[in-house]
């Protein structure tokens, strides 16, 4: 099958040996398909650039921050430092003797956890008391 020669390179050299001049010539050729196979596409360029930047970034990171600390051996991890205390807890989880004194605003009260009236507590409205207290009866 004929192939179109679209590019060629020629290398030549001359050596002399005993008054005889020997000329050698090497010739290589590339086909257009081969050129297409070796052409770097834009996608490949982006990949190369991204990889290069990533390598550069990692190199800089290691240079600046040093090597990440290695995990302690398994044996030492099982005897790790004590767990820090919980930041929050319910008041009734504390023994009565250890409960801190709490000053509530007038009219406030402490509800039991999960008490059935807990949701209704929010809807309670304090009404100003008129003296004497009067009840108004009507159809409702």
């Amino acid at each position: 099958m004929a192939m179109n020669v679209v590019a060629s390179t020629t290398e030549s050299g001359t050596t002399e040996s005993g008054g005889v001049t020997i000329t050698t010539m090497t010739r290589t050729t590339m086909t257009d398909r081969a050129i297409q196979q070796h052409r770097v596409t834009p996608t490949e360029w982006r990949l190369y650039i991204t990889t290069g930047l990533a390598v550069l970034y990692l190199a800089c990171w290691r240079a600046i921050c040093g090597v990440a600390p290695a995990l302690p051996p398994e044996s030492s991890r099982t005897t790790a430092a004590p767990v820090p205390p919980r930041a929050t807890l319910w008041l009734d989880e504390l023994p009565a003797a250890r409960r801190p004194p709490i000053l509530l605003p007038a009219g406030w009260t402490i509800a039991d956890r999960g008490a059935p009236g807990a949701s209704s507590l929010r809807r309670l409205v304090h009404a100003p008391v008129s003296r004497p207290i009067r009840v108004r009866t009507r159809s409702s």
Binding site: V125, I133, R138, S139
Partner: protein
């Protein structure tokens, strides 16, 4: 004094001799009680036990509380010769009261036709096994009776001097905050801004029935929530309002309804003898009549 909303009405709790925090705790427990009763026995909540009973096509097992309610209602039905009857649920729905009440929410363009009469006696109550059999045409509405009963329950758990008021149905425990009795203003049904008379009440309950508030447009007329079991339609009475004083809010609420249905001719006789202690009758024309043993604080 603390207020909250429950059963589509305003509930007030006062225990004037308690510390504010204790009074608030009492109000919170009362609010929880009302919320629980409403959740279990409202006919407007699909998930309530009452709604389940009203849907049941077969005999069903109910809670002991439901049986207690029905048995208590049965006594009132017998005592009132059927003028009090919680099986008016279908009539209420037919009249337009088929959802939770709000002003204007029940208005309808055309009047309704009352359903056939329902009688409480048609309900089969097996007390021992807590089973109820409901005929298909029976729908139960516990309404004001349940509210009064809940007021009584709440008052029983309150201190000796306390007031539980559920939108005008109130239990007034003890001699009042100052030992002179509790002052109860009876509202004028023709002008809710005015007070007709103030009563002084000690250790008694008070309840009022009228057709001026829980009402809605029905065609060119007005319908209301006080159903006459005999007709299955909103009651036609020559009384505009009845206020009853009795030993319990449950009793006062039932008597107020029955007196309203009996009208001026029969209400006075009903309210001047036990279990009522007395009452205030307001005619359509605005006349006010006090019957029974009532202490008036000012006229």
């Amino acid at each position: 004094m603390w207020k909250f909303r429950a059963m589509t009405t305003d509930i007030t709790v006062a225990a004037p001799r308690l510390a504010p925090s204790a009074e608030r705790a009492l109000a919170a427990s009362v609010a929880a009680m009302f919320a629980d009763v409403d959740r279990r026995f409202s006919r407007f909540r699909d998930d309530s036990e009452l709604a389940r009973l009203n849907r049941a096509a077969q005999p069903i097992t109910t809670s002991r509380e439901m049986i207690d309610l029905l048995c208590a209602a049965r006594e009132h039905v017998a005592a009132s010769n059927g003028l009090f009857d919680p099986t008016i649920g279908a009539a209420l729905c037919a009249a337009g009261y088929d959802r939770s009440f709000a002003p204007g929410a029940l208005d309808r363009p055309s009047p309704s036709t009352p359903p056939g009469r329902a009688r409480f006696a048609e309900l089969e109550i097996d007390e021992r096994n807590a089973r109820v059999t409901r005929p298909a045409h029976i729908q139960i509405d516990l309404g004001g009776f349940l509210k009064g009963r809940t007021v009584d329950r709440a008052a029983a758990a309150a201190p000796a001097i306390a007031m539980i008021d559920a939108g005008g149905d109130a239990m007034l425990r003890g001699d009042g905050p100052d030992g002179d009795g509790w002052l109860v203003d009876v509202e004028d049904p023709h002008d809710p801004r005015c007070v007709l008379v103030t009563l002084r009440i000690r250790d008694r309950a008070v309840a009022t029935s009228a057709d001026n508030r829980r009402c809605w447009r029905s065609g060119h007329g007005v319908a209301h929530h006080l159903i006459d079991p005999r007709s299955g339609a909103p009651a036609i009475s020559d009384l505009a309002q009845v206020t009853v004083v009795a030993a319990s809010a449950e009793q006062a609420d039932v008597l107020a309804k029955v007196a309203f249905l009996r009208g001026a001719a029969g209400a006075g006789e009903l309210l001047c003898r036990p279990p009522a202690n007395g009452g205030v009758l307001v005619s359509r024309g605005g006349d006010v009549e006090l019957v029974g043993e009532l202490e008036v604080a000012n006229a």
